[in-house]
Amino acid sequence: MASVEDLSDSELRKKLIEHGFEAPPVTGTTRKLMEKKLMALMSSKGKPSKTASPAPKVNRTLSRFSSAEEDSDDALSNARRKSMPAPQAVKRKSMGRSARAAEAAAREAQVADNLLMPSPPPPAAAATQPARGRYSMNEAALRKNAIPLSAALPTPPRNTRKSIATSSPLRPSLRHPVGNGFDSGSDSDVPVPSISSVRLSTSPRKSPLQDDSQDDEEEDDDDKPIATLLSNLSDRFLPNSGTARLSSPEFSNVKHRMNIGKDSSPDVTDAPFLSAFARRLSQLKAQPIGSPFNGDSYDNVKESDASSDDSVSASTPPNGHYYRRSLAGPTRVPMRRIDPSRSFKTSEETVSFWNNSHVMSSVIIGCFVLCAIVLVTLYVNVASKESANNLIEESSVGNVYNICKESPGDDVPGVTCVTKSGVAPAMKIFENVFLDLMSQAVKSECGPSLHDGSYPAPYLTERETVQAVVEHQGLSIWEAEEQVANLIVLLSSNPHWGVSVLDNVVRHPDKTKLQVSSPKIPWKCILKNKLFSLLSSGLFIMCGFFALYGVWRGVQWWMCARRKQQQDVYHYVERIIEYLSSQHQNTGESAYVPVIHVRDQLIPPQSREKLKSIWDAAVAFIDKKESRVREEIQPVNGEDYKVWRWLPPKLNSSVASSSAGSPSTSPQPRHRQVWQGKAFGLTDKSVNSLANPPTPCLKIRHMFDPDMESGENWQLQVQDAILEKCLNAKILHIHVDKSSKEGCVYVKCASDDDAGKAYQALHGSWFDSQLVTVKYLRLERYHERFPNAAKAKDPMRPSNNLRLSLQAADDD
């Protein structure tokens, strides 16, 4: 605590930040909050903080972890308020010093009174009532009354004295009065005035507007060994107990100093609580006494004495003008009445146990696991109980023994009833038969399999049962048959024995079957079967999945192939039109070309067969959808051929000529992406071009028109065009920004000089009928946008060596 308070503002803030808390500025108004926060952080991290007293730590952690935060905090603040019996202080103020002393004396006498009573402590309200009544009496008379009373019964006080004396620092001072000729009765008096007047004496000295921090500091100043204070007290107080010297300022000072303990509670007037108080006192000794937030001890004090405190505060009208804190006095009383229902007396133990919330959660998990284990064991036990004997024994009440009647009637022994003498042997063989049936059932489930690989049936026929009985029991076959017959009768009338008889309508040794209704399969076998079924179903699902995947891939491939074929068809249609128009230009108006000749012109012989379907599709397309080509039958060289005649459209002549002007040998449907020369020459003297290229990165605009571009690899064409144009500059990275409206391309060169060369080559060129402009980009910005550009080290090369984009330039 002390070290936290000693920290400077900046140090405090630094510490908070160290603890991972984003601390606001530490100012006069926030400092206390920050201190609390730091302590809470330190204690929640489990760091042994030597400085912080345990009490606030516990309180903070409780309030931090418990869901009912207000409860504990309220309790804390309640306790703190309660430890300041403001109404009393008010009264004291009005009474003045002598009255103060009188009250102290009255309380002393009160204690003595109580000590005299062997019976349980009287209600505190009643106890305080006479005490108040005595305020008007002469204090000396009071003293005289009190001392003989306490002297009369030495035994109970002695006990209390011992308990107080256990707190070692108190001992000498407490013994002192004894040596002084006072009996031990007055010993127990010593803490009482201090207790009853705990904050009373400090409070009047403060100005009403004094704030908490001052309050706390004041208390800290009082951190002096209790022993000296007590000796001070005994020196001043006890020898002169009968005199008016009690009212001297020193006495109030002493009382004020006794205040350190802060265990202010009239409950100490109850004799049984004295030892408890002594314990608390020793605890307080053990920890730094003056800590302002000793909420822990407040809790104890308050709760143990709600009623008497109530009576005091209720009987004295609270005056809100003297104490800021006492303003809430009236409202606090009802709250306090509720408090005893909460068991705060044990707060010390419970708090220390519950202060780690993970203990709680682990306990919950532990309970859950325990429950699960119990359930499993119960289930296993229930399952394992089901054996043949148990079945019979448990349900012996419901057993039906079809005993044949003496008089011959419908009953036939061994078929519908059992002779009396046949029951016992049948029961004897039952166990064996049951086991056999069980093993048969197990075999049918998990093998071993028969010769043909199938598993045996899960039942035994009557004949097999008889054979098994003969084998195991060593009976003759007739005996066995009889007993088995009897057993079957019994079993069919007692289905709850766990063996069912199948096909028993007409008894036949080969058809009547016995089967265990609920066979006990070993868990290994169950596991194996489950695993097998799981695997098979998994395999099935996988097969289904693969089939679906295959279908999907097939559909995709088919779609792709169709698209490709469509493209090929368009390609050939274009070439046909080109060819026709060029023929038309070469030969004049009346040119027509046989279809087959066109095909032979366009498709090399080796691929004619392969491309037949595409060619047919292209021909069909032209027949149907090409208005500029007319299909005719014309004799060519004495033979009628299907011919195409080119009908040049008047309006579209420019399109026709432009498409005619492009090189027909190119395999690409688009040939427009070529460099078309410079718009203006760039020299070093040019105003707009920088002499020294500042960065290696360029942004090139108007390289393409995103609305016009089609086809799959136009980006590659744009990229190639740039690379081909700037062959002398090392380009590391190119990004064609498809989404840009301006047709932007970003280029990173190996060095600034390379960028300069590229700039020279590209800026102001015509490409694809657009004027290309280039700007420099900052390298960081470039890397920010294209992080993988930073890794590019090797200069890029065009994707082919055709130099397609430069052809137009070359032609020029």
């Binding site: 984003e22 108004t29 926030t30 909050l33 309220d74 800021r324």
Partner: protein, 90 residues
């Protein structure tokens, strides 16, 4: 906190100007007097503290409790009020 009180609405609807501290939601006569006694006489002073505590709900509520023994409802109302005002006008 499901419904916004009239006081909160009034406070967050306009700049705070020289409003007294009692105009803050959650601060009534009693709390207002306590705050005034500590020097927080105007709403903007409390706003200052609110801002110094970096709009941290936990810290602000702790401070309210410390400064005027506000309960959690009151301090939470006050916090809500100030943070909404800040969203609007800051």
């Amino acid at each position: 906190m499901s419904t916004t009180s009239q006081k909160l609405k009034n406070f967050t609807s306009e700049p705070m100007g020289d409003k007294p501290v009692t105009d803050l939601a959650g601060v009534g006569e009693v709390l207002g007097r306590r705050l005034e006694s500590q020097g927080f006489d105007k709403a903007y002073v409390v706003l200052g503290q609110f801002l110094v505590l970096k709009k941290n709900r936990e810290l602000f509520q702790d401070w309210m409790k410390e400064a005027c023994q506000a309960n959690s409802k009151q301090s939470s109302d006050c916090f809500q009020c100030l943070s909404e005002w800040c969203e609007e006008f800051l």
